[in-house]
Amino acid sequence: MAVEAQVPYQEAIDVHHPHSWLARYWFSQDHKVIAIQYGITAIGVGLVALVLSGMMRLQLGFPDSFDFIDPEAYYQFITMHGMIMVIYLLTALLLGGFGNYLVPLMCGARDMVFPFVNMISYHVYFVSVLILLASYFVPGGPTGAGWTLYPPQAILTGTPGVDWGILTMLVSLAVFIVAFTMGGLNYVTTILQARTRGMSLMRMPLSIWGIFMATVLGLLAFPALFVSAVMMILDKTIGTSFFMPAISSLGEQLDYSGGSPLLFQHLFWFFGHPEVYIVALPAFGIVSDLISTHARKNIFGYRMMVWAIVAIGVLSFIVWAHHMYVSGMHPYFGFFFATTTLIIAVPTAIKVYNWTLTLLRANIHMTVPMLFSIAFVITFVVGGLTGLFLGNVIVDVPLSDTYFVVAHFHMVMGVSPILVIFGAIYHWYPKMTGKMLDDRIGQLHFWITFLGTYAIYYPMHYLGFVGVPRRYFANGEMAIIDESVILLNQGITIAALIVGVAQILFIWNLIYSYYRGRDSGPNPWKATTLEWQTPETPPRHGNWESRLPTVYRWAYDYSVPGAKDDFIPQSEPSAGEREGAPLA
């Protein structure tokens, strides 16, 4: 067929079907296996970070009650918690996990374009996690420099882990970036060059748009982190002075001179701010699909949603110094970055309006993924509004380095993406395993997690307003630390422990349902996107039968008037298109 000749890639991927356990589950080139490898590793290391946050809360809620938490350990908890959550959990799970799983399936490809590179990507990521965790076993323990790793303090005596911990952290980050680059190149190339017939960019599900843009951001932002890691390693090991000014430490003049600590902050945040959107954009995309599917209604303003994702991605590169208002940089910079920061609220607000307008008068099914999606929209609005406070220089200055900041970024880039991740796992678990997750455990897990996070982070806004500083091991006898602060801190700790322990429900649900769950069938949510139309569930390596599916419509044909069902799969031709070219 002439049409077939245009798509030579259908046969291009050599699909292997290995038989030994090691070849199937460790050296697998199947994007779905790699996705699950990424997912399990990320969740595993994320649980470590969750335990660390529990330990921090114990100290903050009940200071002086726990002997094993000294100031050094506390700073190590902070640092490892932050870094693991942002990079090794959220980035890895959203892009390595969901990116890997969804991109070929939703685009209608057999696999990523370079499956071997994809496999290596996971292995390198695994090594980076091992190096990171190894910092608990080196002399002096992990670094306690805070997840931002600001020099000069990060590599000076007095900071925990200054001998080895900081090096394992930096090396682990560099290795992670290598892993991400190998994976990211695959995702972007697959989306750009290996979609199936009829799948134009403007017919892609928003999940893919979010993952695509986030990966592009990652490929362009991680270099800054890589460079700063290399330079800090050199400063630490061979005594260069990239980031180190002339400085005396413990009464002794050090050999450093002439470096620029501000340079590190610029490099770090040139990575760090796009990183926020590397985490947020896939969540935006995925939640759009969840809302549309479970509300049985097409997404409101699809094109606007796509352009908002693109606009946020572009703008995210010119807002980084809003993390540095109090760093001593020129005030005119602050003015510029405050302006760009507030402009980024426009596309973000468009997305929030479109989610709510999708829900308006929709046939909402209160499934667990839907609950998590609605919770996400609410939480994201809360976190976004506090962003307006912190984005303005004059309001930020008094709030800077207080618990208000902690509350803001946990709401907006901690809790929000995690809620989407939970929703997405409840949504796609049936496709990954062929079993439904248990609904009642899911509901319980949702309500404890959702309400619990509010019990944790809402009071932190108040703590910030009264001026409680963040990153303090103990608040001591400051005048602002009155009875209400102490009580709130205890309450937050109790809530945090409950939420932390409740995640056992989720893990239990994953394991239990795998063995005892109800069979899901190929398309339990009656969704339109291609991954639900695979011939087998879970799909085997290669995803499709001898022919790839052809796409005839966008991903959001729900409740179309006059249609047989309340959804029309993307691969379903309309009467006129059955024989003709898919793209009119």
Binding site: Q6, V7, Y9, A12, V113, F114, T181, G184, L185, N186, V188, T189, L192, Q193, A194, R195, T196, R197, G198, M199, S200, L201, M202, R203, L219, L220, A221, F222, P223, A224, F226, V227, S228, V230, M231, L234, I238, G239, T240, S241, F242, A246, D255, S257, G258, G259, S260, L263, H266, L267, F270, V551, P582, L583
Partner: protein, 221 residues
């Protein structure tokens, strides 16, 4: 002329609106290499921007590159002599690389392989001269990453870090070229076609281009 550009613009819109592939007829490997190079550009940009920043913040005077990098020829110090030769070699290697790509697409595989080996030899000699330059700076002039007798310590730090990172790129490129040349010579790409030569070439030209920037910012500024 104006008409041609407007059709080109329409073509662009058409490509991005199409199904299957945005860049029609572009093999996956080539698309991936372009995207990788874009990412790598950001790495080098960060390195060079950092270099400029510390050059401005450092309190001490910056050493004069024309003196530091001068080479004694016939008893007279000639500024930038070695660098001029190195740059010339690297740019020549881009020329042989382009000829290799041409040979590949004309399916003259032995010629393509030979030209790639010549390119790799140019690259190896570049790395060798760089080693000589480092040797001269370290042993004869006493420049160290943490300090030097001529002025600001950041001069040595930036120089060794950036040229070292670029040198690693060139060395990796030499290995890459030799592997691909061997495979081309063995006829491994007879069926698949010789896009791989062009993809290797993209990387090689990129490394050359980066050198032009390093040359300009380090040696001429």
């Amino acid at each position: 002329m104006a008409e041609a550009t407007s059709t080109q613009r329409l073509q662009l819109v058409e490509d991005w609106a199409a199904d299957v592939a945005v860049f029609r007829g572009v093999p996956w490997g080539k698309a991936m290499m372009w995207i990788f190079l874009l990412s790598d550009t950001f790495i080098f940009s960060c390195f060079l921007t950092s270099y400029m920043t510390v050059r401005m913040t450092s309190a001490e005077a910056w050493p004069n590159p024309s003196e530091v990098f001068a080479l004694e020829a016939f008893g007279v110090p000639v500024p930038l002599l070695l660098i001029a030769i190195m740059t010339f070699i690297l740019i020549s290697s881009s020329g042989t690389m382009a000829m290799a790509v041409n040979m590949g697409y004309r399916r003259k595989r032995v010629g393509a392989a030979l030209l790639m080996v010549v390119t790799a030899l140019f690259g190896a000699s570049f790395v060798g001269m760089q080693a000589f330059e480092w040797y001269k700076l370290i042993v004869e002039e006493g420049v160290r990453p943490w300090g030097n007798p001529m002025g600001a310590a950041q001069f040595g730090s930036c120089f060794f870090m950036i040229t070292g990172f670029h040198g690693l790129h060139v060395s990796a490129g030499v290995v890459y070229l030799l592997i691909v040349a061997y495979r081309v010579w063995r006829g491994r790409y007879e069926e698949k076609g010789y896009d791989i030569v062009e993809i290797t070439g993209l990387y090689w030209h990129f490394v050359d281009l980066v050198w032009v920037f390093i040359f300009a910012f380090f040696y001429l500024w």
